[in-house]
Symmetry: C2
Subunit: 246 residues, 2 copies
Amino acid sequence: MSIEVIGIEDLPIIQPGDDLAGLITGKITFIDGDILCVASSVYSKSVGNIRHIAEISPTQEAERIASLTHEDPRFVQAVLDSSIEIILDCPFILSRLPFGHIGVRAGVDHSNVEDGIVILLPSDPMAAAEQIRSAIKEKTGANIRVILTDTCGRAFRRGQTGHAIGWSGMTGIRDFRGDHDLFGHELLITEEAVVDEIAGFANFVMGESNRGVPAVVFRNMDLWNGHDIMYFNESEDIIKESLKKR
Amino acid sequence: MSIEVIGIEDLPIIQPGDDLAGLITGKITFIDGDILCVASSVYSKSVGNIRHIAEISPTQEAERIASLTHEDPRFVQAVLDSSIEIILDCPFILSRLPFGHIGVRAGVDHSNVEDGIVILLPSDPMAAAEQIRSAIKEKTGANIRVILTDTCGRAFRRGQTGHAIGWSGMTGIRDFRGDHDLFGHELLITEEAVVDEIAGFANFVMGESNRGVPAVVFRNMDLWNGHDIMYFNESEDIIKESLKKR
């Protein structure tokens, strides 16, 4: 059993309006079942999901938080505009996005972009993954699977890792409910967040720096069953509740 | 750029006293630079790092927590004995281990083991990874790298993913400090927890179920620079502090 993981190199720097799926299919010949991971920042830039800092007028609330976090109030305003719930405002903004994801600075990114521009997370990353998948099917006939990745911090551990924020052609969670272990016991751990495990390794291959590898293909990957309920509901999220009381 | 990820199949069910490195080297020919991921539960079982439930006498504190979590008080005692700090006792035990890791039930595992036995996390997983690495060097001459994995929950997201609890031959964190992005900006995200990204994908290949793939090899992997400071110190860990005040 061997899986091949291929970093897609030598893509140009993506600009708004670029045909991202077309640029990717120019670099690799897909086969059915491949999983393509794409950095969400690159997807967002290709569809123009960016903001010009100079065009943002910060509110009083953005000014207040910016004075705590020592950031540009216009950048903070972009974070607030992307968020539906602020969980922490200091030492960094931690907030929830409309699609359920909780992340630092709402995933608003000002690395690897030209001066004065920030990149937002896709507002509907599941639809975005489906859109890439359809475009590749249309261009090549290949029936692939797609994950959009973002780089996030974690609880209790230093450093950032890649996470899946949208996916298409597979479920986010592999569900082992009803399975039994090697000794016939029913499994206690029943939910594995496989899209995050794949997105994390894709992020390793992409690198965070100036390598310019915004897409990674996984070949010879299993199929699995499961579901897409990735985010806790209000009563389940003990950590969010504790942080809001802080 | 292509990485090969190989699941090591058809290993026997590991028993205390088994030569784990020898069993693995019987299934694959290593080459220098390979990264071998091993499930920590399998390593622990091979070195006899297990407890027999029938031999554990629960304290009053274990009885109290067991009544909250609806678990066997002797199992709870094994969790308490593995922990140096209890962060939550309900709805599940979340605790810190001596080597710094914070996890649910202190990583004490009663899946894939014979009835009446629990498997503990290695008490010094960095030394354990180094021990596997040395044993493989001695047996084969190959200079590989090793990660010990465990399956853990995460904040804000459902489902479990693989994490690295020990590693040898590489740093846990890849440090981009001083690097610049494609536009010449200094990078804001400077620390990537690469061993967790690799461990997560290894966990995907292992599966959580009855596949019997306790070891995964990554071939053609980069080298990187960084450090091993994986865990927050007391004043940095906002989430731990908030949970303890709960």
